[in-house]
Amino acid sequence: MGTSEILLSTPLYSLHLELGAKMVPFAGYQMPVQYPSGIIQEHLQTRQQAGLFDVSHMGQIRVAGVTAASELENLLPIDLDTLPVNYQRYTLLTNNEAGVRDDLMICRRSETEFLLIVNAACKTDDLSYIQAHISAGNTVEMLENRALLALQGPGSVEVMAELAPGLLTLKFMQAADCEIAGVPCFVTRSGYTGEDGFEISLPTDGTEIVARALLGFETVEMIGLGARDSLRLEAGLCLYGHELDEHISPVEAGLNWAIAKSRRAHGSKAAGFPGAERILQQITGATTRKRVGLLSQEKAPIRAETELQSVSGQPAGIVVSGGYSPASQSAIAMAYVATEFSQPGTKMNALVRGKLRPLEVVELPFVAHRYKQN
């Protein structure tokens, strides 16, 4: 991406500047990476109270029509028969090489209508790919006049109790229509921080009204992409382009749970999605590498693309995301390592500027999820 490219902005651009955000180019948008309090403080704010994220750069794709469900199942390893109206699920656009084109959330809006929330960097390709694979008579469209906000953290519930009490009955991955500050919103109980929270899809012209209403609560602060990344890393969640890409299989990524039972070998709707043969083989067999969490005793971040070595000096794998964890007050990372080195407790070294830095494989997530499960 050249620097001469014209960057898009979200409906909250002027609010970000007003709040003193440092803006950076991200997936073709000018986005806030942090505000004056800084990434660590924003991270802690979200864990302890509530953080508001502008994620309007993400794509919102509407797929509707009488054959939409069955045709989406040709692209996704999902069983949409088990997804009721106003329920959401995490899924993957796989490719023929058993890699991943994009990871996304899909929510059923009616018997024949779905909303897909996709990554900003992939959204244009996703749209044309899905359009090419859904037959005429159905609709596949990018909702250009919609924005997306996320309210995350243990304080989110009390805020919604005042603004939209109808949302309190939602459990993790359930959805509802509501009104916030007079603006019609579509809300799911979900997020990308490991915390309880809500994602709010809303019209672009009402976005600032809702954002200011949320920020009116003392417990809510605006959070940038920097803390969004450190929060999702602690929560062990995949970021497309790091933990997932066209050459990494969902099984290597530890996302078997995102492949519906009915789509697996001997299931009622077995296979029938791109890369199915290899992916299903990997589920019952094995992969040569696996995604793991790595914990350091030191604070120095061990960043993406850092090489890993076994204690005996053999190549062991590569870091795909790394940063500082405020919860453990040390560096944490996610990496792909050879399966023989993937057991929790395995010690290895990262090669950072010619020096070996010790790490240990740990269970993911680094910080327990606190979703509203019951």
């Binding site: 942090q34 800084g38 990434i39 660590i40 920097g226 604070k299 120095a300 960043r303 940063g323 500082y324």
Partner: protein, 124 residues
């Protein structure tokens, strides 16, 4: 009497005879964001101007700091090992990085004074 000079790499130098204290500017710490780790050279290490001898890691990025001059490391700021955030809190004072004993009279002509540095950061 010491005087403070600045480099285009956003370092400051405080020159006191042949002893030069080196740090990063308030502009630099603000650009880096929350600093979580600093790697400093050993006391006694010989430095060559331009050689990248210090690594400052923030939550966002790793920054490498080059030695602004030739000399020998006389002291390093031990506080930074446990409290790297000192650089964020007081970059021009308690957050200094190293003290370098120079082997010759320091030629300050290549560095900026405060006014020139301020103009430089406004333009960058």
């Amino acid at each position: 009497m010491s005087e403070r000079k600045y480099t285009d790499q956003h370092e400051w130098l405080e020159v006191d005879g042949d002893l030069v204290t080196v740090g990063i500017t308030d502009f630099a710490q603000s650009e880096l964001g929350d600093i979580v780790f600093v790697e400093l050279p050993e006391v006694g290490a010989a430095l060559t101007a331009g050689e990248e001898v210090i690594v400052i890691e923030s939550v966002k990025a790793a920054g490498e700091v080059g030695s602004p001059l030739n000399g020998v490391v006389e002291a390093v700021n031990e506080v930074l090992a446990d409290a790297p955030e000192t650089i964020n809190e007081d970059p021009m004072g308690a957050g200094w990085l190293i003290k370098v004993r120079t082997d010759a009279v320091v030629d300050l002509s290549g560095f900026m004074d405060e006014a020139a540095y301020n103009t430089f950061t406004e333009d960058s």
